[in-house]
């Protein structure tokens, strides 16, 4: 039972981590794109 609860907790924590990675990937892509746009329009 304790092992099962630990698995639920682990899965939920991993799920949150995946959501954070999703946000960070989009943020990084836009940061790079912003830098490229500034370089392009200079």
């Amino acid at each position: 039972m304790a092992k099962l609860k630990l698995k639920y907790f682990y899965d939920a924590a991993m799920g949150i981590l995946v959501e954070i990675v999703y946000a960070l990937v989009i943020m990084s892509a836009c940061l790079i794109m912003g830098a490229l746009i500034l370089w392009w329009l200079k």
């Binding site: 639920y8 799920g15 954070i20 943020m27 836009c30 940061l31 794109m33 746009i37 500034l38 329009l41």
Partner: protein
């Protein structure tokens, strides 16, 4: 033929609304306790008066509207649409008594903005508002983000009966779990987990920036409630600009992302289905539309030359883009800077992002990703049909937690709601133009209100015309409920006059 409503129909609606008003009185006890703990005696009196009036009205309605009639779909829709109006009126009482609002209409505007998770504010001298009133503003935003009915489902209403009928009326037509009460409780679980994580994250970030730890936690909790529920209120008039911290803004961006994700997707990820994040049509389309709208905004901002460095352009441009796209409305600029410093292209990028919104069954407003994906796929299906043999049957699928075959019925519903949103955006914009505001700024503010975003380019102020305040209240209300239950309510009113006996 539409039948005229009977007295029992009105009683069913009144009974559930009575329950809701009592519920508001109970929730108002939380800021009352905050006032007592922080020795804010005048605000405590405001909440005591608000709670007393709500209890009195609520119980009177429960007694007057007792009936054996069961709730049906029409009742469910009407209860939901009226719930938001009633909650705003009763929720506005302590706000009005705070002396931070110039009229009761302004206080109702603030409460509706909170419940609808919009974030437009008409508060005067916000920086000197009491802890209790500030907590109340953010708490109503948290309740509105979950959905007033979800709150009621979790604590007040038993499963079965009218539970699902009202849940659907509140623009939440996805069951995460087979039981609707379990679905409501899961929504709460996700929100509480992110509230704790966000409060700690933002609390630490503002402590590092020099704010006392206790105050940091209070501000962290308020900003998290507003960010995860894609609301946009903040305890200070400068909104998130007040904190002057890149780390704070980054954590805030992640919280806004969380708020824009479908609760069904949260569930799939939390039970171990991690691949869903890149298979899901909403997360894919969300990433594409963010990149596209940020491209427009970034090109516009780069052309103005006000942000000459990539990090500053990202901090200002991307922050507001995400704030708009997720429907949050947090800002790190003064409202007038949109009008005076940003050019048309950068504003168009934000307006498109605001108009699209986040995922369905999340806390965002606006058209939403699943509908856009549905309509796009239906277009693709029609084009394929024209290119194929006449007898060919073209099947178009999309992946949203599971593979779904697109049917005309779904496309029609998505297209109708999308059309209603677009008309509502332009309706508010035209009213703004009638009062002398420039079209793009009017469209910006109107889209912000109807899509429940909360970014402002300076039109929303206590001194704006009262008609515009009423229009924005209507837009926030109808936009949050995705129109259908509001239209059903209007139909109910018409049938009371013109229906057959």
């Amino acid at each position: 033929m539409i039948l005229r409503p009977q007295i029992d129909d009105v009683k069913v609606v009144g009974y559930y609304l009575g329950n809701l008003i009592v519920g508001i009185a109970i929730v108002s006890i939380i800021p009352l306790i905050a006032c007592l703990v922080s020795s804010e005696w005048d605000p405590a009196l405001d909440f005591t008066i608000g709670i007393s009036i709500s209890f009195l009205f609520g119980y009177l309605m429960l007694i007057a509207c007792r009936t054996k009639k069961e709730i049906n779909w029409t009742h469910g829709m009407i209860v939901v649409s009226l719930s938001w109006v009633v909650a705003s009126v009763f929720g506005a009482i302590p706000l009005y008594l705070s002396d931070h609002f110039m009229s009761f209409l302004d206080a109702v505007f603030e409460a509706m903005s909170g419940y609808a998770t919009t974030g437009l504010t008409l508060a005067v001298d916000l920086d000197h508002m009491s802890y209790g009133h500030n907590l109340w503003r953010h708490l109503i935003m948290f309740i509105g983000g979950q959905g007033i009915v979800v709150v009621a489902l979790t604590f007040l209403i038993k499963a079965g009966g009218g539970a699902f009928k009202m849940y659907v009326g509140e623009a939440r037509d996805e069951r995460i779990m087979p039981n609707i009460i379990h679905t409501a409780r899961f929504i709460w679980l996700v929100s509480i987990v992110y509230l704790v994580l966000g409060t700690l994250g933002l609390g630490i970030a503002s402590t590092l920036a020099g704010m006392p730890f206790g105050k940091s936690l209070f501000h962290g909790a308020c900003i998290t409630m507003a960010a995860f529920d894609t609301g946009g209120f903040a305890p200070q008039s400068q909104n998130v600009l007040y904190y002057h911290s890149g780390l704070y803004e980054s954590i805030n961006i992640i919280l806004m992302f969380f708020g824009a994700i479908n609760f069904k997707l949260h569930y799939a990820l939390w039970v171990g289905n991690k691949r869903e994040i890149y298979k899901n049509v909403e997360t894919r389309l969300f990433a594409i539309t963010i990149v596209f709208t940020f491209f427009l905004t970034a090109v516009g901002l780069a052309k103005t030359g006000i942000y000459s460095n990539a990090v500053v352009l990202f901090r200002k441009g991307f922050y507001h883009l995400i704030s708009g796209h997720t429907g949050t409305g947090h800002g790190t600029l003064y409202a007038r800077q949109f009008a005076t410093q940003w050019n048309e292209l950068s504003l168009i990028g934000i307006v498109i992002a605001m108009a699209l919104g986040g995922a369905v069954c999340s806390t965002t407003g606006a058209i939403k990703m699943l509908r856009v994906a549905l309509i796009f796929k239906a277009f693709k299906q029609d084009v394929k049909q024209f290119l194929s043999a006449e007898s060919a049957v073209i099947i178009q699928k999309l992946h949203h937690v599971k593979d779904i075959i697109i049917e005309d019925k779904q496309t029609r519903a998505a297209a109708l709601i999308m059309l209603a949103y677009i008309l509502c955006y332009f309706f508010g914009a035209i009213i703004g133009v009638l009062y002398g505001y420039p079209f793009l700024l009017s469209l910006f503010e109107s889209t912000s209100a109807c899509a429940n975003v909360g970014l402002s380019c300076g039109i929303t102020t206590p001194s704006m015309p009262w008609v515009l305040k009423v229009v924005y209240i209507f837009q926030m209300w109808a936009g949050r409920l995705e129109f259908i239950s509001v239209f059903v309510f209007m139909g109910f009113l018409i049938s009371a006059v013109r229906g057959k006996s």
